[in-house]
């Protein structure tokens, strides 16, 4: 047997929420986000795995129901599958509901690509009394079908073996006669490669846009494709895309009915009742409030309270910083280098203390809470409940994922705006994340700042921030060109999150945080240190003085805090915290400053992420808009408070 070419890949494909990422983790031993929210994998994860005695690259793709893409995510999957270096595709299907997986298998069969099917979440199918007859399914599909429970690692050796033996399927569906005629006419013009002409011709007829195929066709081929599409549109009442998808799904349904008995005991009644309550028009909202309160309590009390005290005052204040100062004084002869390490803008005393002692415990507890929410299947229900409110600001319920994630980390949330369907929605979500959604680190410091003031101040702060989000969102919904989309979202069953998965996912995200944020903290501190040395901070504070003291009525030193706020949002809030501790801020000034720093520009990391995701023009536009809006709101609030006093 010849070994595989070096760059061959194994690709996992399947609908959203069937456990592709869990299977990816089980196959490769590596972490990829496993969760119970349709559409969590937005990037293709890659890792090495041993399959059939060879080390191969395994790719985990975003949720896909069809290789004729309807979204950017499905486009990614299609590109990966058709790249031409596919050793095997693993169709990951939900064992309780094999229909969509089977329809995807039909497409791979038509494309003549080697594949095997993993009927995942077999345990849930068995619980439902709907154990499918996988032998019959394998016989009909002409490829291997293996049962797996990826979250527990069951069936993984069998899946590995099946992938090593993956073969093409001879199965061929019959489409309506006009479609078949059009396919036959296109066969000679399809590009030669790994993918078979019949599958590509069906794609050429059923795709909305031909972005993949077009550059690979000859002049004559393009003319034929256009003619065939036009003929087909005339010959059939239904659009070709619908006719092809319907034929495939109808056949998949027929096959699945044959292979899988209808669920005997769908799910325990009390689960059904709980599931219904979570989206109940009345009870859904108190449950939502309770869930959010529990998350907030967990993050604020445990993360921001107990753990921060333990790490910041205990570990850093008691041991790390004194030790670092003693070492620096003993071993570093130059005063400037000592300051760089352990001074007020020192790498150890500021950057590491912030990153590891203040922010890490908060984001870690948030990641735990978020992982539990994801794996439980509650997030799509949150989307249903939040839909109405989000419609008002040009988004739909799906935007609840980036928005809630934004309360953890805006940078990460900006990345997940990709789950939104249209450009307009992504732009609005990114803008609102940058403007008004405070990240967990910032929120913690803001809460501490506000806790020194009467409770009314906290309400006022929340009201101003919420009103800003609503006002800007409402305006953006009307001003940003493009269209929104309607909410159509699958509701996966509620499940108990598996502690192993929650831990695995949390660790993965914490690793991501450390790799992403710590270098920026260090770099930000070095920049602050250098700026402080050459007097730039003082100069900037002087330059900002008319704005900060004139417009906002704050002490000039607050300008330094706002500059720091760009390097890391919470740097800014923490700077204000120090000013208030020193008694330089009166209550009105504290409130104005807190509102401004909350609304103020996103941190450096999320600025970079906005640039990456939405382009640099958008990033600078967001930066300018948010700065102006924050200062304007601050000035208005100051005037209002002065008038009230």
């Amino acid at each position: 047997v010849a070994g595989p070419a070096r760059d061959e890949v194994v690709v996992l494909v399947g609908p959203a929420n069937v456990g592709k990422s869990a299977l990816f983790g089980a196959l490769t031993g590596r972490y990829a986000t496993v969760s119970n929210y349709p559409g969590t994998t937005v990037d293709v994860s890659a890792a090495r795995a041993t399959i059939g005695g060879h080390a191969l690259t395994v790719l985990d793709t975003p949720g896909t129901t069809s290789l004729v893409p309807l979204s950017d995510e499905e486009r990614v999957t299609r590109d990966v599958v058709l790249e031409g270096r596919l050793r095997a595709a693993a169709v990951v299907a939900d064992a309780k509901d094999l229909r969509r997986g089977v329809a995807l298998a039909f497409q791979l069969a038509e494309l003549g690509l080697p594949f095997a099917v993993c009927a995942n979440m077999m345990d849930e199918a068995e619980d439902d009394g709907a154990t499918p007859d996988l032998e019959l399914l394998a016989f009909r599909l002409g490829v291997e079908v293996v049962p797996t429970v990826a979250t527990r690692g069951a069936g993984i050796p069998a899946a590995r073996a099946a992938l090593a033996r993956a073969r093409t399927s001879a199965l061929s569906l019959a489409y309506p006669p006009p479609v078949e005629a059009a396919v036959a006419s296109l066969l000679p013009y399809m590009p030669k490669g790994q993918a078979a002409a019949r599958g590509l011709a069906l794609m050429a007829l059923g795709a909305d846009d031909l972005d993949w195929l077009w550059p690979r066709l000859s002049e004559r081929g393009r003319a034929h494709v256009e003619a065939a599409r036009a003929d087909l549109a005339r010959a059939m009442a239904e659009p070709a895309a619908c006719a092809i998808a319907h034929a495939r799904l109808a056949e998949a349904e027929r096959l699945v009915r044959e292979a899988a008995p209808p669920p005997r005991a769908p799910r325990a009644e009390r689960w059904r009742a709980v599931e219904a309550l979570t989206i109940h028009p009345l009870w859904g909202y108190p449950i939502l409030a309770a869930v959010l309160a529990a998350v907030y309590w967990f993050v604020a009390a445990l993360g921001a309270g107990v753990l921060v005290d333990l790490l910041e005052e205990g570990l850093f204040g008691g041991y790390v910083s004194p030790l670092a100062i003693r070492l620096a004084e003993a071993w570093v002869p130059w005063a400037w280098a000592r300051d760089l390490l352990v001074g007020p803008f020192g790498i150890v005393t500021m950057a590491l203390a912030y990153a590891l002692a203040l922010i890490l415990p908060i984001v870690s507890t948030f990641f735990v809470a978020f992982a539990v929410l994801e794996d439980s299947g509650y997030l799509p229900r949150l989307a249903v409940l939040a839909n109405r409110a989000l419609r008002a600001i040009g988004l739909n319920g799906k935007a609840v994922l980036p928005m809630v994630l934004g309360l953890g980390c805006g940078t990460m949330a900006t990345l997940t705006t990709r789950v939104l369907e249209t450009r307009k929605e992504r732009t609005i979500a990114v803008l609102l994340l940058a403007l008004g959604v405070p990240c967990s680190a910032q929120l913690a410091v803001v809460m501490v700042l506000l806790s020194a003031l009467p409770a009314a101040a906290t309400f006022l702060w929340a009201a101003v921030v919420a009103a800003s989000i609503l006002a800007v969102g409402w305006l953006a919904a009307r001003l940003v060109p493009g269209e929104g989309s309607d909410l159509v979202i699958e509701l996966p069953p509620l499940r108990w999150p598996a502690p192993g998965n929650v831990l695995n996912k949390t660790l993965g995200r914490v690793e991501w945080y450390l790799a992403e944020a710590v270098p920026i903290f260090v770099a930000g501190t070095v920049i602050l240190f250098a700026a402080d040395r050459v007097g730039a901070l003082a100069a900037l504070a002087r330059a900002g003085e008319p704005l900060v003291s004139g417009l906002l009525g704050l002490p000039p030193a607050a300008a330094t805090a706002f500059v720091a706020g760009f390097l890391r949002r919470d740097f800014g809030a923490a700077g204000l915290f120090r000013l208030s501790e020193q008694g330089q801020l009166d209550p009105v000034q504290t409130l104005v400053a807190t509102v401004v720093v909350t609304l103020f520009v996103p941190c450096f990391a999320s600025f970079l992420m906005i640039g990456r995701e939405r382009g640099w023009r958008a990033a600078f536009a967001v930066l300018g808009l948010v700065t102006a809006f924050a200062l304007g709101t601050g000035a208005a609030l100051r005037a209002a408070l002065a008038a009230a006093a």
């Binding site: 609908p15 129901t65 069809s66 004729v68 309807l70 939900d94 309780k96 509901d97 229909r99 969509r100 329809a103 439902d128 709907a130 909305d208 659009p239 895309a241 619908c242 998808a245 319907h246 799904l249 109808a250 349904e253 669920p263 219904a276 989206i279 109940h280 028009p281 859904g284 799509p380 989307a383 249903v384 409940l385 839909n387 109405r388 739909n396 319920g397 309607d486 909410l487 159509v488 979202i489 699958e490 509701l491 069953p493």
Partner: protein
């Protein structure tokens, strides 16, 4: 049959939305289009329906459901036609919402929750109104 065309008198049921295929504003439109004469007219006034319910405490007549948005929760119906762009229709088809499919409505607000086979999903009322249905069992 859920209503008659006010212009030509043709009975309009599920097929009433067929005239909307290819219409660029069909996605945000509450009008029905008569399949025979093409006359477009409002589906019904929600205000009037509400006022009638308020006055009579019960629907004046129990109309057969016209769209998925009218189906009472807990009942099963058969999908007759779906209006909208092909991308939306293909997406709904993958969830199990296709012409001829029998689906159950679990809940109507804040979103229409539909069960098709083992798949459960939520639709915005606006989307549900584009799905014409008939009562199950040929009623």
């Amino acid at each position: 049959m859920s209503c008659r065309c006010p212009l030509c008198g043709a009975g309009i049921g599920a097929g009433g939305v067929a005239g909307c295929a290819g219409c660029p504003v069909a996605w945000s439109c509450d009008l029905l289009s008569c399949p025979r004469c093409g006359y477009a007219f409002p589906r019904r006034s929600r205000l009037v329906a509400w006022a009638k319910r308020l006055l009579h405490r019960a629907p004046v007549l129990a109309p057969a459901p016209a769209t998925l948005d009218d189906v009472a929760s807990g009942t099963t119906c058969v999908v007759a036609a779906i209006a909208g762009d092909p991308a939306l229709r293909v997406k709904l088809a993958h969830l199990g919402l296709r012409e001829g499919a029998s689906v159950r409505v679990d809940q109507r607000r804040p979103a229409v929750v539909v069960r098709a086979g083992a798949t459960r999903f939520a639709l915005e009322p606006k989307v549900a109104r584009r799905v014409a249905v008939q009562a199950a069992g040929g009623g």
